[in-house]
Assembly symmetry: C3
Homo-oligomer: 269 residues x 3
């Protein structure tokens, strides 16, 4: 059994109701010394795409053997399954709705199981409306306590992945991507990665960015490289191209949001 | 002394101000290895009834010896006392304002004390406006560290209980209850339990629900059993009758809230 | 190495995005058993003054060796440095923007260093836009694990302190201070301390308070000493003069906020 049992929570439950605490109580009943960390409970209700982005971003910073509980689950009570998958020596327990898509795209799958063995569920038998508490939490606790993934059930033949938007080269040489996440500051985070920029335009030339049809200018090193209130683009802390306003909200300034077009081009001058 | 010291927090403090952290700092100064869990800090200010519902729901999922700190306390600074009570081998420290009402109705009281011995208070002497930090937190830490309840003070002769709404049979055979809690999704949670339904209507017949004067239809197994946007009723994860909208807000759809009538009847067909 | 490693977080990140979890993951990768406590993530974006008040209030309640991570940092990416300072046997890691001002005014500085040694930073090299994750979190983890402050870098020749508003005596004998913080209840918290009141007016006479040009009346012991909806003044749990409304919001009732004048005077009767 590992000495340190770290479990995280990523939900759309908010923090006013007892739902998160019920999950934590279930886990502490199995592992009273577990170290519990909230990733977020403020994912917009049922927004699987937003949860997928947040999970992709947070997971790499946690140590091996961390177990992540993801409960953004518009299909609770339907036939969709609960899965447990291992990436980067960490485990994610999640509904089979595509929330794992970005992690799965970026990292090697090291194991996956359909969560089926009811001995690891909360007893009495699971309520059909709260799989987070009745299945995901107790199963995650057993996994954090050392249970092998293969003990939960067989691997699925396949599992759901979202149709992730992919940046594409345009005939004129530009790279055309889109906004995949808007953070609380109104920053517009695109699906254009630093690595893709380099593969497309090489290391040398400066790159210029446009968003929602408006020129944003060259990539800056940081927010403070433009005046207060000015729009800018940079490679952010997720290594993704981000459009922001220094001291303001880019979503409002550009009337943009998830799905808005973000273009990168070599500066011709 | 127990190996694992789990303490929870249920307050109306919000999470922007330093008040919650002050309580946690006080506890960690007594028990630096304590495992601290937030139940909620977003109870509407002074809403003892909402806190009572949330506490009733979260408590059963925590392991024995957990100590719960409840600070929803519109009467801070008045003569109301601080109590510590034991239910289900767990302890709750709370202002004597009725916040314990649902827990006390549903579970056997195993011990109770008026918190009086100032040796367990924060020194210097308690500020009259923050009993959560100055009395409840340090007392809870000592309890989680193994202090016996009886060391805090004598049992009270009586303590405050809310006048909880009780579902009643109507002359026409219907069961008439009411909404006691609205969660962040707008779900209307009633005081009609699954057990009461069974005692009233038996196991066989299907039950139909109305809320705020509108027919909602038969009890469903889960939200996904009706179309998006449709109202439904189900027995929820608290084992209570709940009125919801699949993918929407029932409070808005039915113009209902805490106190609205919820009726259950045998379907006659 | 200390047995208990307590770290706190004070940011303006909110709790919907992955940023806080990234910091926590970085820390747990160094210290998997660390006890992590949120002070607040809801400081208004870039409001260094509000963060300074909250830090001043929370810090004294934590035990020795606690390490506080402060990331309210409108200047991220500019040349401002990251500092680590020791007060009260606790350590604060923070951007050099004045957020330490109240703590530094009230407590003895026991040591300070410019955070410079990149061996304690997150590798690969720090992103220029997220010093909280890439510098403050890993450095804080190493400090909580026992690293000496002096190992991080040299002491700064000087560091930034805010121009804190100071209450001043008026010619007519009144003490004129101002609101420095408004809490979630709308309470107006001034910079007039209980100690200053006593030095100015002595222990005997009753003191009367005005705020934003309106008489508020004598200092009360607690909120419940006036009727519901009535304005009052008291010495609050921070030992500061506070103007409040029993069961209401003083900021709205008095159209007051940070910077509004608060006066204390001997009651002449």
């Amino acid at each position: 059994m590992p000495r340190h049992q770290i479990l995280t929570f990523l939900t759309d439950f908010g923090t006013s109701d007892p739902y998160v605490a019920e999950m934590k109580g279930v886990i502490l009943s199995v592992l009273p010394g577990a170290n519990l960390v909230d990733i977020s409970h403020d994912i917009p209700a049922g927004d699987v795409m937003a949860a997928a982005v947040v999970l992709r971003q947070a997971l790499p910073y946690f140590p091996p053997e961390t177990v992540h509980c993801v409960v953004v689950d518009p299909g609770v009570g339907t036939e969709r399954r609960i899965l447990a998958a291992r990436y980067d020596r960490q485990v994610v327990v999640f509904p089979d709705n595509g929330v794992i898509s970005f992690v799965d795209r970026d990292r090697a799958l090291e194991g996956i199981a359909v969560v089926r063995d009811e001995r690891y569920f909360l007893t009495p038998a699971a309520a059909p409306t709260f799989h987070g508490r009745d299945i995901i939490a107790p199963v995650a606790a057993h996994l954090a306590g050392g249970l092998g993934l293969e003990r939960l059930g067989p691997p699925p033949e396949t599992f759901k992945l979202l149709d992730l938007p992919v940046p594409r080269p345009a005939p004129d040489g530009r790279l055309v991507g889109q906004v995949i996440y808007v953070d609380r500051y109104g920053n517009l985070i695109s699906n254009i990665s630093a690595a893709l920029l380099e593969r497309t335009f090489g290391r040398g030339p400066r790159v210029s960015v446009a968003c929602a049809g408006k020129e944003v200018g060259p990539l800056r090193l940081t927010y403070a490289h433009v005046r207060q209130g000015q729009v800018l683009a940079l490679v952010n802390s997720m290594s993704l191209v981000e459009v922001a306003v220094n001291g303001g909200r880019a979503d409002e300034a550009l009337s943009a949001g998830v799905g808005s077009e973000v273009c990168a081009a070599c500066q011709v001058k």
